[in-house]
Subunit: 224 residues, 2 copies
Amino acid sequence: MGKKAVLLLSGGLDSATVLAIAKSQGYDVYALSFKYGQRHAVELQAADRVAAKLDATEHKIAEIDLRLFGGSALTADIAIPKNRSNHDIGHGVPITYVPARNTIFLSFALAWAEVLGAYDIFIGVNAVDYSGYPDCRPEFIESFEKTANLATSYAIESGQKIQIHTPLINLSKSEIIKLGLQLGVDYSMTISCYDPSPQGQACGTCDSCILRAKGFAEHAIIES
Amino acid sequence: MGKKAVLLLSGGLDSATVLAIAKSQGYDVYALSFKYGQRHAVELQAADRVAAKLDATEHKIAEIDLRLFGGSALTADIAIPKNRSNHDIGHGVPITYVPARNTIFLSFALAWAEVLGAYDIFIGVNAVDYSGYPDCRPEFIESFEKTANLATSYAIESGQKIQIHTPLINLSKSEIIKLGLQLGVDYSMTISCYDPSPQGQACGTCDSCILRAKGFAEHAIIES
């Protein structure tokens, strides 16, 4: 048995890669996904496939209804932007931003980590090819890590530090794909689209689809 | 219309007092309670009464199932300790501790604050007559406040700081009661018990009942 780690798993490309990384480092991975009123429940089916295929020890789905507050195209009845340029994607906070999402997700991961006695939490945030979310930046993650160590009795009593691992934070999308392929990740299991069909077909035109396609294209150019 | 504030409201004595304090400071108060798989749903009825009586602008109840992770007598099937001495209550982390609870609750408050454009969050934590929870300490609150300001786009874009207000943090239970009575709080609306009857009757012997009784007794002695 390895050391236990909690991983935030979305069913997308990034968190699948992080699961493969954590496994390659010898962790027993406890994967946590959220049903948070998002439009795309197909994401959760992808998360299930990824957890099984990449050998997570356990996969839990927490239900939280972020629609209660509204305020995002991912949870409320607002249109997902399509066909934006690379320049637009990298600038400003998009309407797909979910308020305080990573703070909420990491809080739940922390609760499970405490119950498991796990000191390692993995999250697939990325500050390079990211979509302009403030809670994907290293300064946010560092601050949350400090908060986590003050919040929980098991960290205080043991003197052992909780660590938030962000192995993708400085990688481009094509570097993430390269690393995942080296670790044997089958990306056909994953879905990145903000607005897939009910059958799980990606739209190809939302920010997330564009970033994913760009990543695969760049990876192919670098590799060829 | 005053400034908007989000308040964490439990239906207990402390958060009712904080609602009265926030109102006395001119805030429009948006009260947030949680249905988190706790044994005592009567707490939510008390929160409803308090929100209505003390004139909250809105009261929302977020459903999150912390039983998913287990690990606490307040959410799992573990007996609530009874008749503990004052010495025992003040020492060590009790079994009623819910992992990462205030981190989760504050994260949700932050999400709602962002949607509302509110920069003030009130929480009734208390570090004096408290029950040994690490996430009731000032160092935890300060750290969460820093994290909140890094997590959210509205704080970053406006340059205005999010503040976590803890007006009870240095008060004894009897001082809290005194302040609340001055502000007109009717404490018969509130319930503090960890293990009430389905009819909402307090048990009188759990840590929370003991601290409440001690607070009222001391207040009576000081006032008489």
